[in-house]
Every structure is written in C-alpha cells, then in structure tokens.
Symmetry: D2
Subunit: 284 residues, 4 copies
C-alpha cells in the first residue's frame, strides 16, 4: 500500500479533526486510521492519521507541502512519513544478546519496518551474531577515559549511516548528556526493572532484596535524566520466594524481550508522540 502517516500535535481548538480530515478528503486521500487524543486538562490535541494515497488527486509531495498552511494555522507540530518505508536503525549492545536476537528475529519476519544499519558494541560478545545476520559490527571501546571519544565515534557512525533510531539493547553504559540531547526522541532503551522502581544498577538484585512478587522491564526514550525518560511500554511477570536473583534475570529476560519488541514497534510505526515526560502511544 502506498500511503502516508501523519503525526501531529497542537493546542486543542474547534474544528481541528474536521480541518485535518477535510484536508485529506479534499485531495481524495482516504483515511485508514484516525487515532486521536485530546488532553482536556492541558488543552492539547494529538493525532496519528494514516492515509491511503492511492487515489490522491495531487502529487504526494504537493499534498505534504500544502499541509503547511493548515499546520501553521493550527500552531501544530507535525510530521509526514511515506509508506512503505524502512526506518534506519542502529542497535547498541554490550554482552547479553537476547534483546538483539529478538530484534533480528522480528525484523527478519517482517514484523518491524526497519533496516538495521549496524550493531555497535562496547564489548565484542555480539559480533558473531551480527555477522551471521550479515550486519556490520562496530566495536568501540568506551571504558574509562575512552568514553567521550567513544561516543563521538558512535555519533559519527549514526550520522554516516543516516540512522533514525538507536536502540539500546541492554547496552550497559551511561550515555553522555550531549549525546542524549543530540538524539532526543530517537534513542530507545530497555531497563530491566519496572520503572521507577529499581533505577540504576543491578535491578534484579534490588528486586530480590526487596522481595517483590512481580518483576518487570521498561522500554523508554532516553533523556539525560537516567532511567527517567518517557515510558513507551512495560511488562511484568510473577515471581515467588524461591526464585534466586539468577532466576529473576532469567524470567526478566522474557519481560525485556517483550517490552523492547513492543516499544520499538510502536515507535517505528509512528504510534508514539512524546509530550513532556510522557509518551502517548496508539497501540496496534
């Protein structure tokens, strides 16, 4: 299907749905999905609109550029994406490979409209997996004093490879603030706890010590505030008193795989809109 996805947010105002829908209708676009959310408290309007452009009466380029007049009159931020597409995605890893494997598997099944540009590791444990999948693997040492230079290198790679999304698939290094800021809204992390519980290191150990009866994982956008960015998806699993910290790690892997898979899915299908510290998600 050829088509467009429009993401838009603007102050809530009379006729906003009608104006957007009419714009589409006026040029013979056909609405496949119109997902909308009005935050009445903040008087903000958010929408994800999917448009079938098969019968569009104008050129798609003109349709997109012509929206500017309406968009500005609504004081909106918006973005169009042409269907079909593959979002260029880099995956950053350290040692563990289950999240990387999950992403590779779902990509190969065609579940995710992404093209993995490369795998970037601050350890080389995942190199073989990347190679089996015929993906470039960049080993970049970021330990200790090499951290700053390492992230500059990563930044270069992302630019060169035209990366739109970077996934931290159990990447175990804290990102420098400038890096978070430069890629704001374009880095997704999986944290191995039910945030905001157990921020920081060794969350399964912390969970064990606290004696929780459910463990979890959180997929969120990365900000310079550690483990505090907008949450896209969370997953939990029951545990019992006999589960050791090692068992929690094992059971938690399943949460992590599920949460990161759905989190990526929502992002790459343009089903998320970040507003302040919250993520609006129109699930599919």
């Amino acid at each position: 299907m050829t088509g467009l996805i429009l993401k838009i947010d603007c102050p809530d105002q009379p006729s906003v749905v009608s104006k957007i829908a009419s714009y589409v209708a006026d040029y013979s676009g056909s609405l496949v999905e119109f997902s909308q959310f009005t935050n009445t408290q903040l008087a903000k309007f958010f929408a994800r609109v999917q448009i079938n452009t098969s019968n569009l009466s104008v050129d798609v380029e003109d349709f997109i550029s012509g929206f500017t007049t309406l968009g500005k009159s609504l004081s909106a931020s918006w973005n169009f994406r042409r269907l079909p597409y593959k979002m260029r995605t880099a995956v950053m890893v350290t040692k563990t490979d289950h999240c990387l494997n999950e992403i590779l598997w779902r990509t190969s099944l065609g579940e995710l409209p992404i093209e993995i540009t490369s795998v970037i590791g601050n350890r080389d444990n995942c190199q073989k997996i990347a190679e089996q999948a015929k993906l470039p693997f960049h080993f970049i040492d970021m330990d200790g004093e090499k951290k700053e230079a390492g992230f500059r290198k990563v930044h270069e790679i992302l630019k060169e490879e035209n990366v739109e999304l970077t996934v931290l698939a159990r990447f175990m290094q804290i990102l420098p603030n400038w890096f978070c800021d430069k890629h704001s809204g374009k880095i997704i992390n999986i944290h191995h706890s039910f945030l905001p519980a157990f921020i920081g290191a060794h969350p399964y150990r912390q969970a064990y010590e606290r004696g929780v009866k459910l463990i979890g994982a959180t997929c969120h956008y990365v900000t310079s505030d550690l483990d505090a960015g907008p949450i896209i998806e969370q997953e939990v699993q029951r545990v019992q008193h006999f589960h050791t910290p090692k068992d929690l790690m094992r059971l938690g892997r399943d949460c992590e795989r599920d949460a990161i898979a759905r989190g990526i899915r929502y992002h790459v299908h343009d089903r998320t809109i970040i507003h302040e510290n919250r993520a609006i998600v129109f699930p599919d």
Copy 2:
C-alpha cells in the same frame, strides 16, 4: 458536562470522517473523542464520537435531527445519546450473588452511568441484597412448565420499567428465542468459561476434567444461539493441578466479576458496536 455520544456505522467511503467532524464543527460542537475503526476487508466504517455541546450554536434537538440528512447520505445507522444519562438497567439472577454485588458496588461508586430499575430472580436468594440496596425484587418462577409464562412476565416488567439493558448476572436459565430476539443487543450475559471453550453447563467441572492451566469468563451479548453471541470482554486466571473444581469456582468468580464489570461498562458508555457476530469495543 453536557454533551452527546454518537455511535455510527456505515459503508466505508471517501470523506466520512471529514463529513462527520465538519457537521460537528459547523454547529460549534467540540470533539472530546473520535474513536474510529475501518474494517477494510468488509469496507465498513464504525465510529464512536463524543461531543461537548456547551458552545453549540443550535439547539441540541435540532443538532440531532439535522444529522439525519448526513446520516442518510452516508447510508449509516446511527444513534445519539445525551450526556449525562443513566441507562435503565435490570439485573437477572438465580442463586449466586457475586456478580450482582459487583454491579451494585460499582454503581454506588458512580463508576457506571446506570440506574438499576429492579432485580429479577427465578430464585429468591438475592432478594435480601436487593432490598438492602433499596431495589425492587421480582421473584418469578420459571421452572418447568412455568418458563414461557415467566419470561412473558419478565418481558412485561422490562417494558413497564423502560429498561434499556438487561444483565444476566449468573442467571441460570436458557432464554426463549423470542425473548432473545425482542431484546437483541440489549441483553448481556456472563458465561463462566473462556468461550468458545466449555459451552453449556458446568464449565468449571469441564475445565477441571480437561486439565486446563487457565480458566476464564466471558461477557457477551445474548443471542438465540446459546453462548455464541458477540463477545465484549474476557478474563482469565492461572490455575494449577491442585485446584479442585470448587477452587476453580472460587477463582473463576474473580474472572466473572471483572469481565462482567468491564463488559457492562463498555456497553453503557456506548463503547460497543455489534457487527454480525463480533463486538467492536472502544475501551476506556
């Protein structure tokens, strides 16, 4: 808030969202929620639209009647409901009271916009609960040969009390076909299994015999085809080998309460649209 809920379904066609939204905008209605679903395979469009009418430029009555022209031009079926409202609801019971209790509790908390007109029982076990809640209780004998007369009596009560929704809250009698047909789309049942597994009598006993690891409950619209009507909501719970059929009944009650509470909620908030044998549900 004063407002309107519009439920509409029609053949999918160009501009349908734009036309509906423009109609609302033209008379200064404001969209609170526009939930839409297009079944592309069937080329059918379904929507639930919630409108704030505080600033409406015309009389609400005129707004509603004026929609007829648009509605007909879309070959639509539609319905307006004025906010706030209380849906007049009868609850039918036999012996067990947990679903009735759940409904009473949620109603008293203001969770459900309903007014319970009466409780109707083919046993008198729930009479006391009804009386404590200051609700009329109609005991109607429907056993054996009295079934037909009993249901005619129920039908009379529903008419007299202007009932819009009848909830079978573990009502253990099969309804006559004519009764199902007359109240089509207006009777909600809770079945104590994960339908379509374990249709008919003693589903927990059946579940035990089969050795399932999850039991469930299903809230569905009643049709003359037993346990086969459109499903609104389902709930499940893990069970283990040591649970006896009696344990399954106990654990299942929690599923039943959850499923019936959400099923009623979706219906009375006009969040369901029945299409053939499936229920479209826009959850909140």
Copy 3:
C-alpha cells in the same frame, strides 16, 4: 476436617523433612500438604505442613506439646494451628470502602476463615457498611494531637477483642512505631502502588506524572519502616495515556481489591512465613 497446620522454620540440616514427616507418621497423622522451601544461600529451611488428624493415635494436645522436643532439637521456630478455625480479625478504615467491602464479601462467602471482630475507623464513612454487616464499628479520632491516644485506644480494642490479625483496608494514617512493633507480623496493609515505586502519599498521582504503562497495588506486612515491610502479594493493570489520575484510582481499586484479598487469604491460611524483610508464600 479436623486437622493441624504446622508452620516451621529452622536452620537447614540433614533429615529435617524426614524427622518432621516421621513425627507425624509415628502418631498416625496423615499429611495433606507438605510445602517446603530451602533457602540454600542462607541455609534456612521453611515449611508449611497440613496434617489430617482424624486417625491420630494420641490426643491432639499431646501431639502438639510432644513436638517440642523435636522442634528444639532442630533449633526451630514453629507454630501449630487447629483446623477448623476462624482467625479473629479487625479491619481499620478511613473513607474509602472498596477493600472493606471485598473482605466482607469474601468472608460471607466462606472464602476466608476469619471472624471479623470489629471495624475501626478514623472517619465514620464506613460505619453504615459495618452496621449492615452487623459488625461493631469503633470511631476513633486520631487527627493531629489525638493520634497517640487514638492508637492506644485501638491497641486496647485489639486486646479486648483478642484480635490476631489487623487489616489496614485503605487506612490513611501512619502508624506509630510502638504500635507496629507490638503487632509485628500481625498487621497487613494495602498500598495503592506497585512498591517500591511510589512510596508515600498520592501514588496514583505520582504514577500519572511518571507516565507508567502499568499501575499496581501491594499487600504487605506493616513495619515501622513506611511501605517497606515484607510483600505478600502484588497486582498490576495496564493503563494508557488517556487515563487521568482519576481513572488510575478507579482501575487501581481493582488491583487493590485483588491484592488485599489474596494477601489476607495467604496469611489467614498460614501460607506465609516472614523471614527478615521477605515473605515466603506457599500459594493455594
């Protein structure tokens, strides 16, 4: 069924299961359930043993007292409870009644082997519900300077009524340390968040601000460390971006009811053993 429940914990050691089981067998007791957990790291053994005493060859009293020799030789802590029994239980409340209702409902169905001795409130909102259930209601003012005297009064009531378990069913006052200490292991609280996230006041508001995708409730033993006692049970529920803090409260009530019901169930069936800050739970 007549019988006994034995709860026991001791250092892990050779033959411990065999010794306990043999003691039971030697006097013709019959094991209905032998639930055991060995924490190999701590070298600690925990068990819950349910014994059918129908064919016991000695008097139950002698059976219990005779165990002392074995128990001491194992350096164990243990406790026998005779079946059937009703655990004398007080329920403390403030304004909201959904947890109280849940407890009353499950008790009346025979799901919980408890006898509610009284309802104690620092507000009178739940007085009517208590009265309808034919339960004494103690209104005790604990505001501001009356707090200390209030809790001394509560302490007196619990003594007079021979209360074994006190349930804080959305009781919104922080307990004084001396009170927590005096009733250690005998007070169960429901906290309306997924602990350790959102400790303290207004957890649903906190959850909303953080933008979590799952909310929860935690049933735990009360210690003088606020919201930090051993966790018995937790429950969660999915939420979305459109849910307001008020919606979270509504959805959270279902988590709270489930978690407190199961937490109480495990405790009153002697299915919990507290060890340091963790609760071992043998679920049924």
Copy 4:
C-alpha cells in the same frame, strides 16, 4: 551440583512422605526440594524430590537400586535421574521457525538442560537455521502416501539418536496413532489456540471469526486423540476488534514461544507427572 531427581506416584497411604524422606536421610542424601501433591479425591500421591548427593554414604547406583524395595512396598511408579544431565531432544518442524528459534536460543543460554540431537522437517524451510546452529537436519517427505513411511523413518531416527523427548515446534502433520503410542509421554506439541477452544486447523482464523478478546497457545503432551493430550502450559494475550487474522498470527507467535518454552522447561526438569489426561506440574 551432583544430585538426583526422583519422580514418584503411588496410592496415597500413611507415612509416604516420611518413608521417602527417611530413605534419603538414612543414606545421608540431602533434600533440596520436596514438591508433593496429594489428590485426596483419587487417593493418589505424587512427588518430585530433588536430592543433593554430595555426602551420600553409599554409591549412587546402590542408592537408586536400593529404593526398589521401598518403591514396590508403596506400589509406586518412580524414576530417578542423575544431575547434571542433558535430555536428548529432537525438534520437528514444518515451515515456521519461531518455536525452533526459541528453543535454540534458550538452549544456547543454558536455560534448558537439553542436547538437541537433530531437527526433523517435512519441509526444508528450517534447514538453514539448523545448520547455522550446527545441528543435523533430516528432511523427510511425509506428504500424502509417503506419510506412513515418513513416520517410520522418524521413528528410526529417534531410536538411533537415543532421543528422550520429541518437540513438535509447529510441526503441521497429524501423527499416526502407532507413533503417538510408541512415544507416549515423550512428545510435546504446541497448539496455536487456547485449547480446548479451536481444535484442529486454522485456529487463528477460527478465533477471528468467533471474535474472542483473548487468543492463546497450549503446550501439551501428544496422544492419539488430536489436540486432547494432557496440558502442560497455556498462555494468552489480549486482542481487539481491529486485529486481523494476520495480526492474531503475529501476536499468537508470542504466546506460542512462551508456552512451548515453559512447557519444555517443566518437562526436561522432570517437573511434570502425567496422570490420566492431566499433567501435574511443579513449576519453578
């Protein structure tokens, strides 16, 4: 750790726990886990006992053979397995590879104590995956008239490779009765529905047609009665009206992977005991 797992079932009788535990204690075995279930209705006793044999006072072989006297006196069926071990496992596949991948991944992580002897396919789609994992792949044509010969071939391979467990990882052929009987209790299947709902072909299509709100997957032992063998594990996932049959297939894959992974785990850790048409599962 060196050790033993004992699985045993016998008529319920006085002293059974004491006798088993005493046997272990008498020879200085140490109990790591004693999981037991008494079906009081059937008067049957089932247990899984894990024994640390590090300090055993006799040879393990003698310990095992010496149990015969006790076992027979209890009229028991029992089985000892020496730790550590790798259960020799064959995986049968057709076209889809997600269950195979899941098994390979968990095996490589050391989550499952199995050694995959080979992958057997009636299509060659999974050949490459098997080869990447350095596993023999047997392509066996079983279509139409070749079915009988094909299964005889499979039977030969299982014998030659000393296979203890055969996993049908979305293997899409109905097994002949003689094959089911010969490998009774040693074949695990994943069915892509919440059994007993949607037995047979195209369960996701059936689920879509019925309009269920939860889909599922079932891991069960294979018997000659199609999709009716003892259930080990089930998993479900919420779906909504907008999910197409293709979406259900995608979402269902996650259920299938979870259910088969846990089902295999319970079996290969000797945590299941089949009794008539039910599986007792002592989860970990």
